[in-house]
Subunit: 345 residues, 4 copies
């Protein structure tokens, strides 16, 4: 006999409906309870999914022994408290990104999940897209050679948020993608930016991430841009990628372009640089909705006891950079070293 996994979802604002829709359509999974402060949103959900229980009190989810796992889609400031309560109630947890507002909180959640042998997964959605998974394959099979840089522009006329700056809202996507794609972790960050509304968080920011060896990363995020841009360049010693998430079909383009450096001649003190340009190709991508792939992975990890691709450690790595970048931002680009220590369990 097959066991059904029962899920409680907290938050039915912007992202919650996508979580519910995907879990509802997943075989072997049942959305048992949905909670939200807002009764209108609950009514809307109820009309659409009459079999789901709704409640304004999320504790109804924690105390329900039939619920196996909790998906949290609330504002970031509540992530820690809700995830901790869920873990302490013995539930597996899928939490929105950014995982928490501080790295201490993230470490605390990791510790709690490990102690209780529960799955703790962060909803780094982009990691589960066909485009990012294809780029991961290309990098993992050394198709790009040594990775030289990751350079992303993620701007649009976006909703100004009052509690977090644009880094926590937009750069978090690139940081989660980089955490998955890149072979190493940054050791320091320099960030600059500006707020155009007095008393509000920064709405434009620029991050540079420093890595050991030949690698650098840069992220340009902006809530006040006239056009929407989602374009990432990834440079390697062998090949280079242009990843444009707004392209309807050819999101990933791989260029056989680059330089060759010949520095072995003793008599020449300057490097000889050759330029190479060849074909471009755009691989076919899996077009499955990322949240479906991700949800299935969450269920799989619960059933098999596996560690998720985007586990608490991945969430922690991202939060640590967000913290450091915000600190650097306040100091106009001052270099901030990143704590790369693991979690003491």
């Amino acid at each position: 006999m097959v066991n059904i996994i029962n899920i409680g979802v907290i938050g039915y604002g912007y992202w919650g409906p996508n979580l519910v829709r995907n879990f509802v359509e997943m075989p072997g999974v049942q959305v048992r309870t949905l909670s939200d402060f807002n009764p209108e949103l609950l009514a809307k959900a109820q009309a659409r999914y009459p079999t789901i229980q709704v409640t304004q009190d999320c504790r109804d989810i924690f105390t329900d022994p039939k619920i196996d796992a909790v998906a949290i889609a609330t504002p970031v400031s509540s992530h820690f408290e809700l995830a901790l309560a869920a873990l302490q109630a013995g539930k597996h947890v899928l939490v929105e990104k950014p995982m928490t507002t501080t790295s201490e909180q993230a470490m605390r959640l990791i510790e709690e999940a490990e102690k209780r042998n529960l799955v703790l997964m962060v909803d780094h959605t982009f990691v589960y897209t066909g485009a990012v998974r294809k780029m991961h394959d290309l990098i993992a099979t050394n198709c790009l050679g040594d990775i030289y840089y990751y350079d992303s522009v993620r701007v649009n006329l976006g909703l100004f948020q009052h509690d977090v700056n644009v880094i926590w809202d937009l750069a978090v996507h690139d940081l989660s993608i980089m955490s998955y794609l890149l072979p190493s972790t940054p050791y320091a960050v320099s960030a600059t930016g500006i707020s155009h509304v007095p008393g509000e968080p920064e709405n434009i920011a620029y991050l540079t991430l420093f890595f050991e060896k030949n690698l650098i990363a840069h992220i340009n995020v902006n809530w006040l841009a006239p056009v929407k841009i989602r374009r990432t360049l990834i440079g390697g010693s062998q090949r280079m990628i242009v990843y444009d998430d707004l392209e309807p079909s050819e999101k990933v383009k791989v260029y056989d372009k680059g330089i060759t450096v010949n520095g072995n001649s003793e008599s020449v003190y300057q490097m000889m640089i050759g330029y190479r340009t060849g074909d471009m190709y755009s691989p076919k991508l899996d077009m499955t909705e990322a949240l479906k792939t991700e949800g299935l992975h969450f269920i799989h990890c619960i059933e098999q006891g596996d560690r998720p691709l985007t586990d608490g450690q991945a969430g922690l790595r991202v939060v640590r950079i967000l913290e450091a970048a915000t600190q650097s931002l306040k100091q106009q680009g001052q270099l901030i070293e990143l704590n790369t220590a693991g979690v003491a369990v």
Copy 2:
């Protein structure tokens, strides 16, 4: 009787042929002498323009009393020495960008030109394009409102230079455009970057420029990109511009988009932000070759004793930022204040 302006051109490498071609076609102007170290380039020029004198010794230009003005299109390291010699020989000077390798040199040239009442003009070519002049009009007539940011990406698979880093090669364009377009000057710069070839200058760099009040600027330059991008966003409180220099015809797009901030209510401690989106329009641009417009302006300034749009001070402002940015780059984003003092004459 009309006086012909006689011009000597130094350097016939990449840019020199464009200077010669434009001056040759200008009424009232004669290219009298061309100098270059390379006899093959001189032979090529001679074949094309049989009436121009050619020489490997640029001193022939300085000592020729018939020559009124000198255009210098040599590597940046020689700009100061050649421009100074030309000025001291009583010639008006048009010098390639960047003007010099240090701000001290730039100040010395400004001083010399002022003392002798000679025109000293820097070849900030983009300032003379139809696109940049149109954007200048839009900003000057307050069409954009307060300027919030200037954000430029200027990347391609470019020739790695051995003597200057990518900032001096590519960011110089944006700095010269900003110097013309923006209402104020930056007070500090933070720059980051990397060199992917041991012992060579940085081939990727990111600059943030800090201004008083609400304005910030950012420049992303890269010699190792798989695709060519030349895109600048300029955000204002009323309207915003996307300037894409690679577009064949619609290079400048003006978006009636932005936010409105309502912060006068005392009871609300957070700002109310409204979002506004309207039509876009792309103004018709003057398609005259920039170098033609610029050359005519140089001649006009010589004849009328006017100060050029891109005079020595404009050149100096750009060099000061290049110096500071390079210093910041070496210190991983360390904020470097800009000396904004004028020239003591």
Copy 3:
């Protein structure tokens, strides 16, 4: 007291779900019954909308006295029979495009609706998009001057249909748009095309429509194209439009470009043609879902007894062209005159 309009929907395949979703969300409207041959589709609908009655027999809709109006979203071959039955049962009708498979059928439906004073509306969806309505405004206010041509490319790797050729599937969109936008009706059509699968209908076709005076129209449709293209050029004597339905925001661009003809000089037997090029602008568009606007218009017409924008006559005009084009296609471009007679009631 407000009367609720009760709607029956026939067909829940590709388009039916969109009809149901829009009518369900409309105030004052109730989807009472849904019919489809396929019980799986009905089960899916039932799960989503538990309050809607479902049936495999569409006659349940015709015989239900509470139902005021019927929306038909079935294959084109069944449109006539279903719409006629609905009208004869005294229901208002919204029928998918193309309206019928022959113009005789279309005329019969028009006659039946007029006789019974019922609303007969054809679902020419594009007519209700913000883009097409904006273009209609531009043309109606003479912004374009005399209309010179309508030229559309509508191609992609599309589902090959077995019962109708690509004209009935794709060109129908352009014909319905033209029927709304253009100031006159075509008098003849020439069509060419090919089938690449033996025994199957044409999967590529090219239509030219001839109008009186200066106007011509052309439509290029293809089920076997490697990329999706939806681009229409509309040329006028004063301005010209590029309408690209795949653009996320700037779907309509208006170009101040054209020629001026000066032919009044007697001594010159050839026309003097001047070329004019000015600004481009892209107006802000209403982004309301077309089907919502259309549904509200259907309800409005039922309540007020108004004639719909896309009434039976509009449907008939389109079907007549489809018939003639198919006939011309079989004769490799042979000109077929269009019957422009009205309906005898």
Copy 4:
């Protein structure tokens, strides 16, 4: 000892300067004489190329025994007379496209050249571009499978010509490309179009070309379009091409897309169609200027006695289609069969 090939060029308007520039830079080739009616154009040429003889009388070229070959870049109406005179004077001939104004003239030139054993080449420039040659390789190596269609849009706000319609000006490019790329020749043509200026030739035209078997071609040309488009789709049973000549680098994209037809089951009367979609790739192209490649080929054919890729027969095939298309245009799409007979020598 190497023989220099001496060339006479007739016509220095739009295209002539390109011919002269390319021949001048070619080793082993000398442009000896240039003729044009317009003395100003000759003065301009003389200033640029002081060693070339200039004349207003093209007979000076025919009668000069030192001249081996003549390149003709004059209006089409003069091609026949000039080319015939050149051949009769024993000169090899390179003539602009379209080759002549009638197919009779084209056959007469072919006959004359064959009789005298002279090279007769038509300047079908696109055939010598890297993009078209790459597509030829792809088709010749069966990479595309069976060719299903060639569909081209070639529109812009172009100069209205008084002596020929838009087909002779723009469609000629596609016809010359097709003549090189496609495996067979069309047997009939249907063309439609319109003139928007009274008494002037058609400025918009649409051509359909019918081939034996599964192939069809379509060309859309327009002098009155607000934007410039140069896009060709080539569909094959295995792969499909998008060729966009305005793309700066990725002009040719090869899509691994298509349908598979399974029709061998007897019990199923309808074909089973499968849809296939895979990677896209954009091959690196030779960026040599087409006219240089073409000029070298002309010289090679003169020296080796080889038949040019774009010989008189290729020119004749194109002229025959232009004639038939113009005839069909006058009859609103009436199918005109193409004479595919060879030349009686």
